[in-house]
């Protein structure tokens, strides 16, 4: 199931509610991998205010449905759940939940990672950050999701607010 949420949601209760619907016919899954992206309230010592998540109505849903189909075709999955916020979001709130259920752990892990990487690099969402003075700036780009070390690439300061 794929859902765009215009207001706050609790990722783990949402995961459990979806899992209950999977489990009704018996416990068919042995592995669940989930990812939650959360808006931090601090970035390098600066308090982060609200964020606004713009999206492209129609294309965003289409793109998320496509990557979900790709994941289902590529791995042996029991089910998946993808919830993404749109609109105004406050520090501490969940931005995205991806949960993948499978029989064996490799499929759940790999599909979950695939979905978040595709979403981060290609799904039409744009984050606009509210600065302390009330002005705003657009987050310029997502990165590979690492900071420093291990030969991973760095990232610009605006992106550093989010995972």
């Amino acid at each position: 199931m794929i859902e765009l949420k215009p207001s706050g949601f609790e990722p783990y209760p949402a995961l459990l509610a979806h899992q209950a619907s999977i489990s009704q016919a018996g416990v068919a899954f042995g592995a669940t991998c989930s990812f939650v992206g959360t808006l931090r309230d601090f970035n390098e010592g600066v308090t982060v205010s609200d964020m606004y998540l713009e999206h492209y109505p129609g294309m965003t849903e289409k793109f998320l449905a496509r990557i979900a189909d790709e994941a289902r075709q590529h791995w042996n999955l029991v089910d998946l759940l993808l919830i993404h916020r749109v609109g105004a979001i406050s520090p501490g709130e969940a931005i995205v939940l991806i949960a993948v259920w499978s029989v064996h752990r490799g499929d759940a892990f790999d599909a979950c990672r695939y979905l978040i990487e595709q979403l981060k690099s290609r799904a039409p969402f744009w984050k606009r950050e509210t600065l302390p003075g009330g002005s705003h700036r657009w987050v310029s780009a997502n990165t590979d999701g690492y900071r420093g070390g291990s030969g991973q690439s760095g990232m610009d300061s605006a992106e550093g607010i989010l995972a």
């Binding site: 992206g37 492209y56 129609g58 799904a123 606009r128 657009w138 989010l162």
Partner: protein
């Protein structure tokens, strides 16, 4: 041919427009539509294009009734 054009994110804000209609001649490509709509703006670095809600390259041909979108790199998740 008439197409519908949309702008998102920082690009929408920089241009001061969310979208518009455009009449283009047969054989027009995406980059031609950009220049017709934004004659004083060079083709932006890193701009992304979607035609009828699928990613395409700037050389893609336009057809009557197309929905064309321009936007900066995405930052969801």
């Amino acid at each position: 041919m008439l197409i519908q054009v949309l702008y998102f994110g920082s690009l929408r804000e920089e241009l001061g427009r969310a979208g518009e209609s455009l009449a283009v001649p047969e054989g027009s490509r995406i980059i031609d539509a950009w220049h017709a709509l934004n004659p004083d703006q060079p083709w932006p670095d890193n701009i992304l294009c979607a035609l009828n809600q699928d990613y395409v390259k700037s050389v893609a041909l336009l057809h009557d009734g197309d929905e064309l979108a321009f936007f900066p790199p995405v930052t969801g998740g």
